[in-house]
Each structure stands twice: as structure tokens, then as C-alpha cells.
């Protein structure tokens, strides 16, 4: 186990009807807030009205900023910063999935910062303070409701970059599984791939002596695998939706990565697909992750055998542990297929001729590497994309 620091102070308010508590919760921080959301879905499911009622009842004034898109854009973040400054707003309520929350976090750190908020996303500056952010989660997967990260896409060049800093962890996250009943099978599956990837990015590590966090990772993965299948059969199964929702938070609040170095290559490669082709993050991960695994599994076959045995209940083939390792990867891919996710770049309409460019973009034109489990060069990434092609 490595030395580590860990803090996850987000207050979780979980369960039926919890959205009605939002007004009182926000009131602890502010009387005038930015109410940030995406499109019409929160209106369709009646959540918008509940939030407005609760805020009004608590005497909290709000200015609305809707319009967050998947792969949230820097331009809207800039608009949010401007609104907050002009209206002396000191709290942001994000009602939505990871994109809305990430956008709110970006606005939060942008308001008190004199420079361009994009500085934080390209490592040019480090945020020291933020407006507090609260969340009502509507789509589980990104784990942004309690995480220390935010991913934003800059339309100038379509770069998707992330900021990771404990300062941006939300103050509270309201999570009612009923709100997720209407999430489509496809977006549910994308969320599942995302949360599984968050666990697996931490699971495949060079750090040794990781008993507890290995087992916590496996516990989370097994829970997700079981309940994802139930939810796709029965979208209104409260228990299964609740398991997925809570698992998505645990998968990415940092606990599972304590004392170990995560990989994150698959996420970084996927960010280029999302940036360039507006691919849904979870769908991109469903394609990239198994391809990455096939490329790197020999580096620590023990870890992949353990993954196969403990997560997928595959009896190890001691005559050929490699077969067991590969079977685990295959099971993951089959699982993604079963959920209706793409598992090839072809399905995502990412053309082969762009592989070089994608690999180049995530390695600073081939001058840096990506990932920690195996440090991947530009050439390695091209090979992974080739594995992912079909």
C-alpha cells in the first residue's frame, strides 16, 4: 500500500422523495443561487417543478442556466461564470448527470478566479477556492456527485480535459433512485460502463499489497454487474436502481483508489473520442477498456486472473492462467454487448484513418505517455485503437 491522503466530505442524502429536501439544504449556504441543468428531461419527469417548489418554499432565489450538453462545453461554463458574477450568486445547484455537475464545478472554480477557467483544465493554474456546489443526481455513472473531478470540452480544438482537485467536491448530493427510472436503457448502460471503468482504472495497478481496496473494487463491480442486468429488464426496480446509484458514487469518490496508483489510460484515450466525435463517454469506454486490457494483460497476469476469478466467478485454469485472464476480458466485453453497448470503434463511426491523430492528441504529439499500469506511447495507443476497431 502506498501513502495516501483521502477526503470525501460530500453529504449524501439518499432515497425516495429526497429531492424535496433541496431547498432547506441549499438554504444553509445561500439565498441566491444558480440553478444549472441540461434540457427538458428534468421537466418531463416532474423534477424541475419539485426543485422549484422546494427552493421557493425555503425562500431561495435562483437564476436558471439550462443547456448543458453531454461532454459539457466551456462556452456555457463561461456564461455561467458571467451570470454568477453579475448577480452576486454564491452557490450553484446542479440538477442532472455528470455533465451538468462537471459544468457546475467549472463555474464554481471560475467565479473567484481572475484568469480563464480553462487554465485549471490544462494545468496552468490550480484552484484554491470555489463557490459551493450542490447536486441532485439524475443519471448515475460519472460519479461526479462526490468526486474531485470535472471534465470539460473546449470547443476551440475540441479538447476534452479534466480538473482533479478536492476543492471541487460537492457539498451535498441528493440521490433518489426513482428519478432514474426513466433513464433510457442505452444511457443506463453507458452509466454502467462508466462506473465500472472508474473501478477498473483503479483496480489494474502496479501497487502491491492492496487486499482491502482490491476486495472493495470487486464488491462494487459484482454489485454493478448484477443490478445492471436487473435494471435493463425492469427499469422501475427501485432496489436495483438504488444499488447502481450508490455504487456509482462509491466507484468514483476516491475510496477504492486509496493507497494505490490508478491507470486512467482508457479514460484519457476515450476523452479524445468524446472530444472529436461527441461519443457518449460510457459508450467510448465500453469500446476502449476491453481493447486496452487485451493489450496490457501480460504485464500483470495475476491481476487479470484475479479479476476473472473474483469478479466473473471464472474457475482459474491453472494449466493456462493466460486463458483465464483472457476469459475475464471476454466476459466483460460480452457483458457490455448484452447491455446494448458498442464494443468496436466501427460502431462509434470513428474512422481508422484518424487513429494516428487521436493517439497524437493524447500524447502531446507523441512527446508524452499515457497511463500508469503500462506507460503507453503514441504507437501503443494506435495499436489499442486497432484492437478496438472491430
Amino acid at each position: 500500500m502506498e501513502n495516501f491522503e483521502f477526503i470525501s466530505p460530500t453529504k449524501i442524502i439518499f432515497g425516495r422523495d429526497t429531492e424535496s429536501l433541496v431547498g432547506d439544504e441549499v438554504k444553509k449556504y445561500s439565498n441566491k443561487i444558480l440553478f444549472h441543468y441540461g434540457g427538458g428531461s428534468i421537466k418531463r419527469i416532474g423534477l424541475y417543478e419539485k426543485v422549484v417548489n422546494s427552493l421557493e418554499k425555503a425562500g431561495v432565489k435562483f437564476i436558471e442556466l439550462p443547456g448543458v450538453k453531454p461532454n459539457p462545453r466551456l462556452s456555457l461554463v463561461q456564461e455561467g461564470i458571467k451570470i454568477c458574477r453579475e448577480n452576486k450568486i454564491d452557490f450553484i445547484l446542479a440538477v442532472g448527470g455528470g455533465s451538468v455537475i462537471d459544468s457546475a464545478k467549472a463555474i464554481g472554480v471560475g467565479v473567484p478566479y481572475e484568469g480563464n477557467v480553462w487554465d485549471f483544465y490544462i494545468g496552468k493554474a490550480t484552484p484554491r477556492e470555489t463557490l459551493p456546489v450542490g447536486v441532485i443526481l439524475t443519471i448515475p455513472g460519472a460519479g461526479s456527485e462526490a468526486s474531485n473531478s470535472s471534465v470539460i470540452t473546449n470547443e476551440e480544438g475540441w479538447y476534452k480535459r479534466s480538473l482533479d482537485n478536492d476543492v471541487i467536491r460537492p457539498k451535498f448530493a441528493i440521490m433518489n433512485p426513482e428519478v432514474t427510472f426513466s433513464v433510457s436503457p442505452y444511457y443506463t448502460a453507458c452509466g454502467v460502463a462508466d462506473m465500472m471503468a472508474h473501478v477498473m482504472e483503479r483496480y489494474f495497478t502496479n501497487t502491491v499489497d492492496t487486499d482491502l481496496t482490491d476486495r472493495l473494487c470487486e464488491a462494487t463491480l459484482k454489485t454493478i454487474i448484477k443490478n445492471a442486468q436487473i435494471v435493463l429488464e425492469e427499469p422501475k426496480n427501485y432496489a436495483a436502481r438504488a444499488e447502481l446509484m450508490w455504487a456509482s458514487t462509491i466507484a468514483h469518490n476516491g475510496l477504492l483508489g486509496t493507497g494505490r496508483t490508478g491507470d486512467w489510460a482508457s479514460h484519457l484515450i476515450e476523452h479524445e473520442l468524446s472530444g472529436l466525435y461527441d461519443v457518449t463517454h460510457g459508450a467510448g469506454l465500453a469500446v476502449i477498456f476491453p481493447a486496452w486490457m487485451k493489450y496490457v494483460y501480460k504485464h500483470r497476469i495475476d491481476k487479470f486472473v484475479q479479476f476473472a476469478a473474483r469478479v466473473w466467478s471464472i474457475e482459474p485454469n491453472f494449466e493456462s492462467l493466460e486463458k483465464t485472464a483472457l476469459e475475464g476480458i471476454e466476459q466483460l466485453k460480452e457483458f457490455f454487448k448484452k447491455l446494448g453497448l458498442p464494443t468496436t470503434l466501427k460502431e462509434l463511426n470513428v474512422p481508422e484513418k484518424k487513429f494516428e491523430e487521436i493517439a497524437s492528441r493524447c500524447t502531446n504529439n507523441g512527446t508524452s505517455t499515457v497511463g500508469n499500469f503500462v506507460k503507453l506511447s503514441k504507437e501503443d495507443i494506435v495499436k489499442i485503437l486497432e484492437i478496438a476497431e472491430k
Copy 2:
């Protein structure tokens, strides 16, 4: 899964040499603190000197209050409150195990409270504020370093009672596994029983649909079981000490109990043993918990079969699931024995003629029940004590 609220804001600073960071960490809160500890053990292992150096280097003044005993006493808490008030101290640093931390928490809530701090422990008042408390942990087990609870013994009547409130969660916990190398095999084992009990109190529940938390509990238990055995063979095995130390925090920071109702009968029965006979908490739990299990397992045999199968890797006997359930309980008891812990009240010198009195004390003279999994009357508790006798 039930609705829940969860917040665990303690900053964890984990790993080798982390105690040297204490001065800078404390400095964020205060320039003048109470330095609270037990006896000479922190001096023997050189920790005292390191803490003093770090505090002095950071320019933090401190007043010492040593003398915390296992089953920490109200009288010392009162003394700490007086010292803090008289010296305008606004931060408490606890260096020790659960007893020292619990004592520090009690002082923390006592200082700003006009009444008697014992009010908080008998439900007569609820704390709204506290002096901030920081921790350097030396004995894993109690989980107090990140928990919302504190257990204090009132010498008037030898009542041991607990306060549970999120207000008292420590601000930070510094955890260096090396510091625990010198913990004796017996106290290591007591800590192990305590942390396992914290998981099992949550595990055995009437709440249904608890996939994720069940599995997280099992992951934590398996990790403890494996690493406890390593540590008793090799007291200076860093990796195993680290697993135990981190597991003890996870076991009791509340995460494993999210969305489910815990039992806590074994803890409450054990508190009477500790209060009356000054039994080490973990040793008392090693006696009471298996006896409690034998008394209640038929209430939800599925849960006990799952415990046997998933935690102890016992292949279920489908012809007699009861046998499987009992085998799981037996394995736990054998495990405690192997660690050198007592498993009978006789070994703890608790006389049979006192069973009535003990049962009476934890049920308000037989007027209330104890526990949630099965609500235990005074008579039930006497029967459990009889099972625990030999």
C-alpha cells in the same frame, strides 16, 4: 435499501512518517491545543517526541493531558473541559487508540456546553457544536478516528454509554501503520475483534436489498481475517498492519451501514461488561458476538448462510442450511480463539450470578429492549450470557 444520510468528512493522512505532518495540519485550526494521550506507550515508541517536535516546529503551543485509560472515564473528560476553558484552548489533538479519541471527542463537545457533558451520553441533550478534534491513531480497532461516536464510562455507577453524532467526527486522522508494530498480540487481537464486530453489527440486518453494502462488508471482513493472522505471525509486517489499520476505519466510518439498520445488541451488552468489570472492549465482543449469533441465527438463516459462504468460504450444505449457518459461527469463534482472545465469560471472570444484573442494566431494569435484528428482552440477554458462559 432504506433512505439514508451519510457524511464522513475526516481527512485521512495515511502511511509511513505521516506523524511528522501533525504540526502543519493542526496549525490550520489553532495555535494552542490540548495534547491528549494515555500512558507511557507513545513515549516508549518515540511518537511523543515526534509529535512535540512537529508541533513546536509549526509554532503550536500545547497543554498536555495524559492519563486516558481503556474504557475512558468521565472524570478525566471533566478535567479536560476545565483545562480547555481556563486556557482558552480551541483544538484537541488525540494521540492514541479509541479510548483517547473518545475522550477527546467528549472534551470537544463538553467545552462549549453549559450543562454536564454526560447529558449527551444519556440522551438528555444533543450536541450542536464541538471544538475540532484531530487524531494520530496508534491502535486500530475502535474506528473512532473517523466515526461519529464516542463511548465514555461514568465512574458513578460504572455506566458505559455512547454518543453518536456527526458533529464529533474528527477533522483529520493521521495513520502510520509503523506506529502499530509494537501493539501487543493481545491488543492487536482485541482491535481485530472490535473492527469485525463493527462490520457484523451492520451486516446482520432485517433490511433487504443490500447487495453493495453486504459485499463491502464481506470484503472488509475477509481482509481483516487474512491480515490479522499475518500480523500475529509477523508484528512488523507493514503491508498487513496497513490493511488492518485502513480496514478498521472503513469498518466504522458509517459507509458499510448506509441504507440498512444495524443491530448493535452485542455492543450494548458488552458495554455493561466493560463498565462493570473493566473488560477490554474487543475481548468482551469476542465472547458476546458468537453467543448472540447462536441465539438469533434462525431469525434470518439466509444471512448467516451468506456469511458462512462468502466470508469463510464454506460450501453451503443445501440439505441443511442450518448446519452451514452454525459452521460459519463456529469458524468465527475458532478464529477468535486462534488470535488468543477469550470466547467465554468464564475467561473474563464475569460470574454467572451477575447475569441478571447485567441484563437488567442494559434494558433499563427490563423495561426496554436491545438490538434491531432481533429485539432482545432482559430474559433474552440472560440466555445469551448463558450461552457465552463456557
